[in-house]
């Protein structure tokens, strides 16, 4: 099975360190960014299959980052993360084309499963249309 390349974007360094270790152990190629801008910089030089994006971040918000990622790299799937489950950010995230939306706290298995589903969705999209 090919290694999935994931970029995790969150303003909390402790969370990033933890998630990098935990996803790394599950055979995921994990990269991290501490802000929306950093994430966009990373994606302009490198690429990722799936971006896991925090909604609440200082500076460029998660929704703004999502819009930019979707505009520049339509093939990348985005999973939104938030501690504040508000309908508004949910609607915005999902209507701006986020693949999925997760409320903190979450279990690593749950995140992993969603990352895999998002990755598969991205592959199918690249192949153009249905898997059947």
């Amino acid at each position: 099975m090919t290694q999935i390349k994931v970029l995790v974007v969150d303003d909390e360094p402790d969370f990033l360190k933890l998630i990098k270790r935990r996803l790394g152990k599950r055979n995921i190629d994990v990269h991290v960014a501490e802000s929306g801008q950093q994430a966009l910089d990373f994606l302009s030089e490198s690429t990722a299959d799936v971006v896991v994006l925090d909604v609440k971040m200082p500076g460029m918000s998660g929704i703004e980052t999502l819009k930019e990622v979707r505009r520049r790299h339509n093939e990348i799937e985005v999973i939104m993360l938030t501690g504040h489950g508000s309908m508004q950010s949910g609607i915005e995230g999902i209507s701006h084309g986020a693949y999925d939306y997760m409320l903190k706290p979450f279990s690593i298995d749950d995140l992993l499963e969603r990352i895999r589903a998002a990755y598969e969705h991205g592959r199918l999209k690249l192949r153009g249309g249905s898997s059947a």
Partner: protein
């Protein structure tokens, strides 16, 4: 016109045909040569009547399909009118605010502004910024409506998709004491569909339900299979939808919410998505008795 004439003929024919055949039979019995003549006359008469009759039927059919087309055209024009008014309304409101704020700023800048005026100018700029965002949000939604989505088919668990979106909405609903009941069928088969698109649909329906009910209201979410379709129903006990609005709720920009509370695009986008996924949305509602929206997705896509 033609249809009623054809209908009358059919009714007469019902009795005339057996009677004429009976007459021919009796005539032939009594005197074969005369009977043969009568039989020939009656047969050709019946034949001619039938031809006229089917011609009328054809005309009637044509008339009906023309009327149907006219009706569709009228509905399209009505929907287009609603869309135009909707766009104009949604964009004009923020434009108006921007205009007022710009005028205020110009007045504040007539002479060298004092600190209080500088503050007011800052506030005006903030408002303008927000209103521009609101406009761009509307155009974004319009583009989203028109977008060709090219759905992808992925194995998905309808219950899970519904529950995920419920988790988002529940945090908004619990402070208002809205009770949400789940009646999810635990043997729902997996479906082949596009999960992020379906999430968007469920979220839209749930948000509508939360906004429709009063504080302390009830929302029931259920999933089940019916006739080869996977169904997810969102039912609320809100004010319901007037029968005159039932056909319009899926039109873009149709909204019953106060200005600024909803663009009226949620349901139209949702229906478009579900249609692209090969399904449909059924709506049942009576004024005063809440509303139930059912998303139906084909089980084997």
């Amino acid at each position: 016109m033609n249809l009623s004439r054809a209908r009358r003929m059919a009714r007469i024919g019902q009795y005339a045909c057996p009677v004429s055949f009976l007459l021919v039979l009796i005539a032939t019995w009594k005197s074969p040569p005369v009977g043969g003549l009568i039989a020939a006359v009656v047969t050709s008469g019946v034949c001619m009547t039938h031809r006229a009759f089917s011609k009328w039927l054809e005309d009637a059919d044509e008339e009906r399909s023309e009327l149907g087309e006219q009706l569709v055209q009228t509905q399209k024009i009505l929907a287009l009118g609603e869309i135009s008014t909707g766009i104009a309304h949604e964009i004009n409101n923020p434009l108006n605010v921007i205009m007022q704020e710009a005028e205020l700023m110009r007045m504040n800048l007539l002479s060298d502004p004092q600190p209080a005026e500088v503050n007011e100018i800052r506030e005006s700029l903030d408002v303008i910024y927000n209103q521009v965002e609101r406009c761009s949000d509307i155009t974004h939604k319009l583009l989203d409506f028109a977008r060709n989505r090219h759905p992808v088919s992925q194995r998905a668990d309808i219950n899970r998709l519904v529950e995920d979106m419920l988790a988002l909405v529940e945090r908004e609903a619990s402070p208002r004491n809205i009770r949400i009941f789940k009646e999810l069928n635990d043997v729902m088969p997996m479906v082949q569909t596009d999960p992020p698109l379906l999430r968007q649909v469920f979220l839209n329906l749930l948000i509508n339900a939360v906004q429709a009910v009063e504080d302390g209201g009830t929302i029931v979410v259920s999933t089940y299979c019916d006739g080869g379709m996977a169904c997810a129903e969102v039912r609320d006990d809100g004010p319901g939808i007037a029968s005159s609005d039932l056909e319009r709720v899926f039109n873009p920009f149709f909204t019953t919410k106060p200005p600024g509370k909803g663009t009226g695009l949620g349901l139209s986008v949702s229906l478009r998505i579900v249609n692209e996924l090969g399904g449909d949305i059924k709506l049942k509602s009576e004024p005063g008795n809440g509303a139930a929206f059912t998303v139906r997705i084909p089980l084997n896509n």
